[in-house]
């Protein structure tokens, strides 16, 4: 077989493959609304890591970790810092932002490792004043934030999804009943990384695998909405990545 024939055959195979993949192998991401419904109010609180932008060694370093908030009543939406790990270094260097919880007193509860007590302890951060207080309360269960005031629990994405299906869903469970909040065709590798109830128990905030914050209404009173907001600048060489959504104070 001549080289020209080989070349033609190779190009044909690659083009055919590309056409087949282009037609059947691509599942579009779900489309979300971007304009907020009037019923959507309050503040979204989430945890982000600030990383350096290096591509090759030294690999990206985590420069700091912070809790951010977005006030849904503002226009345009923009993120603001609540508190960073670097602000809490006098308490400990082991601050656990990933399972922070909202309390009913306009505060964020953060667990940390106290060297002096040699045990896990709690810090309460007031969202408005940013004032930090140490708490002597007993530690709440880490999974309690998955259940709202009506006793409804958000199912984790792997609980309600067939791993091979081209579908993304969000469910919550009430007693023995599983109720669907959202279901849409989506690529196999698309999922919700974390999700939380709003304090009213009527809304859900979720972080998807594309790093987008999505708002859902439990009763489908409005369509799922993607938050478009102005990101804070973290210096020329740094970037931020949302790790998890902490909650929605509405």
């Amino acid at each position: 077989m001549t080289n020209r024939k080989n070349l033609l055959l190779s190009i044909t195979i690659l083009l055919l493959t590309t056409v087949v993949v282009g037609i059947f192998g691509i599942v579009p991401f779900p489309e979300y609304k971007t304009s907020l419904n009037k019923d959507v109010t309050g503040k979204i609180i989430y945890f982000s890591e600030i990383q350096s932008k290096n591509i090759i060694p030294p690999a990206p370093d985590i420069i700091d970790s912070c809790l951010f908030e977005i006030n849904l009543d503002e226009n345009p939406l923009k993120e603001t810092v609540i508190i960073c790990r670097s602000d809490l270094s006098k308490y400990s260097y082991e601050i656990y932002f990933f399972d922070a919880q909202l309390t009913n007193n306009n505060e964020v509860l953060i667990r940390y490792w106290s060297d002096s007590k040699n045990s896990e302890s709690i810090l309460l951060i007031n969202i408005e004043t940013k004032k930090v207080t140490e708490s002597n309360e007993n530690l709440q269960s880490r999974s309690s934030y998955k259940v709202n005031s009506q006793g409804e629990r958000i199912l984790d994405y792997w609980e309600g999804r067939n791993p091979n299906s081209r579908n993304i869903s969000l469910y919550y469970q009430k007693d023995n009943e599983v109720i669907e909040v959202f279901s849409e065709t989506a690529p196999t590798n698309y999922y919700f990384e974390s999700s939380n109830w709003s304090q009213s128990g009527k809304n859900i905030v979720a972080l998807d695998s594309e790093g987008q914050i999505i708002l859902f209404s439990k009763n489908k009173t409005y369509q799922p909405t993607k938050l478009i907001y102005e990101e804070l600048k973290h210096g020329d060489q740094d970037d931020s990545r949302i790790v998890s959504v902490i909650g929605w104070r509405d």
């Binding site: 077989m1 001549t2 080289n3 080989n6 055959l9 190779s10 195979i13 690659l14 055919l16 493959t17 087949v20 993949v21 282009g22 059947f24 192998g25 691509i26 599942v27 579009p28 991401f29 932008k53 290096n54 591509i55 090759i56 060694p57 030294p58 091979n164 081209r166 690529p187 196999t188 590798n189 698309y190 020329d236 060489q237």
Partner: protein, 328 residues
């Protein structure tokens, strides 16, 4: 002189295949080409010294790397790449009797060229990173990866065309996969896993085609890269599309393995037989377990199938060798 070579020479001499004069010439040549005891000691000392230098470098570089400015890191990478390329080109010209540690000077230059390919990729990636940091250009990550993969592919293709050696063949193949993968990822960012498998099957098939037409050498390596890539692609494709139906999945994988075994016989290429045979060895017991759950027979059947496969493999190989020797 090597004992086996000496025995062989004596056997040839006794059977009048070579003259006494030729025997003496070969004997003298072989004796001069192997290292003396003194040179062995010198080699050992140099080898130990080189190991110290290497461990010292490996220990020191990470420590100073973090303290170097970006431009200094880039300069260091460029110097390392240039040095590796020069050393590989220089070692290509070595006469065999000057070879050191490695079995041939070809292998030395092949390994040095391979390391220089990795270092070259790092230079391109680092240059793009610095350009981004200085805000001269704003190149997004996808485009940066395409530029890096295209440059590495070009360099690997040049080295393969120049040397046609094993490591350059491997680097050429995987740099092509890297390039196609990065382009595919940019065009189809949310591609389904089966589509990725289909791309692998296509690339493996194309590689096999070029090996078949003797464009790619050595043929065993071309067929090995081709058959393994086709196998991996098929596994991804089948698992993703029919993963819910385990029986169908296993049957399709067995069918694929049988096709590889058939191709190995058609092409008289052992390496494809091994890849296909491995597929059968893995999937036939899975099929038996699927058909006969909780049965004590599967281990015994596994043993029987394994025995049959080994016997068939050896038998096919014998036939092939017989055919080749009769052709000669």
């Amino acid at each position: 002189m090597d004992k086996n070579t000496k025995k062989l020479l004596q056997k040839w001499l006794e059977n009048n295949l070579i003259s006494q004069e030729s025997f003496n010439k070969i004997f003298e040549f072989e004796n001069n080409s192997i290292p003396t005891q003194k040179s062995k000691i010198a080699r050992a000392i140099t080898l130990i010294g080189s190991l110290f230098v290497l461990s010292g470098l490996l220990g020191t570089l990470p420590l100073i790397w973090m303290n170097l400015a970006y431009w200094a890191q880039l300069l260091l990478l460029i110097i390392i790449t240039g040095f590796l390329f020069y050393a590989a080109s220089y070692s290509e010209k070595f006469e065999e009797k000057f070879r050191f540690i490695f079995k041939s000077s070809e292998r030395v230059s092949s390994i040095l060229f391979l390391i220089s390919t990795i270092s070259f990729g790092a230079v391109i990636a680092f240059t793009l990173n610095i350009v981004n940091q200085t805000n001269i250009l704003d190149i997004n990550d996808d485009i940066a990866i395409i530029i890096v993969s295209f440059s590495v592919f070009g360099y690997a293709a040049y080295l393969y065309q120049r040397t046609e050696m094993v490591f350059q063949h491997i680097a050429f193949f995987y740099s092509l996969i890297f390039l196609l993968g990065s382009i595919g990822n940019t065009i189809f960012s949310n591609i389904e896993p089966w589509a990725g498998g289909l791309f692998l099957v296509s690339v493996g098939f194309i590689w096999g085609l070029y090996t078949y037409s003797n464009t790619l050498k050595p043929s065993w390596l071309g067929y090995f890269l081709s058959s393994t890539t086709i196998s991996i692609g098929t596994i991804i494709l089948v698992t993703d599309l029919v993963g819910d139906n385990v029986l169908l999945e296993i049957i399709l994988l067995i069918l694929g393995s049988v096709i590889l075994v058939w191709a190995s016989i058609q092409l008289s290429e052992q390496i494809i037989f091994f890849v296909g045979g491995l597929g059968l060895v893995v999937n036939l017991p899975r099929l038996i377990t699927e058909l006969l759950p909780d049965n004590i027979w599967p281990p015994l059947i596994l043993l029987l199938i394994g025995g049959v496969l080994v016997a068939v493999g050896l038998y096919l190989n014998t036939i092939r060798e017989n055919l080749l020797s009769s052709n000669d």
